[in-house]
Amino acid sequence: MPQVTLTVNGKRHTVAVEGRTLLVEVLREKLGLTGTHIGCDTSQCGACVVHVNGDSVKSCTMLALQAEGAEVTTIEGLAKPDGTLHPMQEMFREHHALQCGYCTPGMVMSAIDLVAKHPEGLTEREIREGLDGNLCRCTGYHNIVKAVAAAWPLMHQKAMPQAAE
């Protein structure tokens, strides 16, 4: 059986996989990191989003073997060891940006990538478009957008530039 070596949340793992094994299957079934969810079969819902080498990707649409040597971050890798939440998680909590929570891990991972890559600021519309790949059946998105906007100043440690509002 082929093997894949990858670093997940800072820890190196070598795992035996099949050619067809998906990255999400390694995370959930081999490493027990069930915070990453599977919501669809068609690569459309984003429940499975993780970061691979600094980019948000759908872990259901990547073979485990394609992640050879990669640095992967999952929802479990965000909080500090003492339990302090990542600012995005904290803002999701504060702004009631989740109801059933099924979409939340993927939504948070996509949102962190979006905010990190837009140091110039984000408009409401850009936040909505930036989360196009994440579907939520509960919240109606409104509070999610608010949470992401509220996390921007915390992540960049300055006020959101006027121009982007």
Binding site: G19, S43, Q44, V49, S56, K58, T61, L63, Q66, D132
Partner: protein
Amino acid sequence: MYDFTYHRPTSVADAVALLGSDADAKALAGGQTFIPVLKQRLNKPSKVVDLAGLGLAGISLSGNALVIGASTRHADVAGSADVRRAIPGLAALAGGIGDNQVRHRGTIGGSLANNDPAACYPSAVLALGATIVTNKRSIAADDFFQGMFTTALEAGEIITSVSFPLPVAKSAYAKFNQPASRFALVGVFVAKGPAGVRVAVTGAGQNGVFRQRAMEAALTASWSPDAVAAITTPAADLNSDIHGSAEYRAHLITVMAKRAIAAAG
């Protein structure tokens, strides 16, 4: 998904040899089309040959061409200062494909090889008169697209890059999203460059991407949204499905063309 053996060659020659070694060997690029297809068991490859190790990612700008390597991701085309400057419509198109996560994996080579009738890139490649370069030859865009999911590629042939002729005076893409899939219900790319004035339509045609020649003639005479406002596309050759009738798509072609022309300035 059926199982297969996974291969990650590090040269084009090795990849071609692997693909040629077995009739059921298949290439894998970003996987944003191929993996969903495998999940549905619509394909049963014996070997999957990952092209990611071939060094085919990258963008280079010379005096008379913008060359994009086959493994270049949509996000990198969208974010490239060179692409934005040389062909802004192409950068904008790449930035509107699917969603951020699809754009972080999907590649231009994969999109063109797949030739989905609702894909975005084929319209740009056709409108800009680009050339598709493979491991064995160069293929003009006009000869490359041969109907739904069908291209001039032979079995085991690998796209290595796409060359867009410069200078491009005007370029823009207008897309009407199918909101569930995020593909184009109708997308129109308009361009004025070395290949002349061209209008290419995706999402609508029964045979995939096509040129709207009446609009090209009208825009050659006068570049303005009004020039195409009265030009219609016969519905007989267009797709009809639950998302939109052929007549609706025909209407959208003119609307999207006008928006693209306005955006191109």
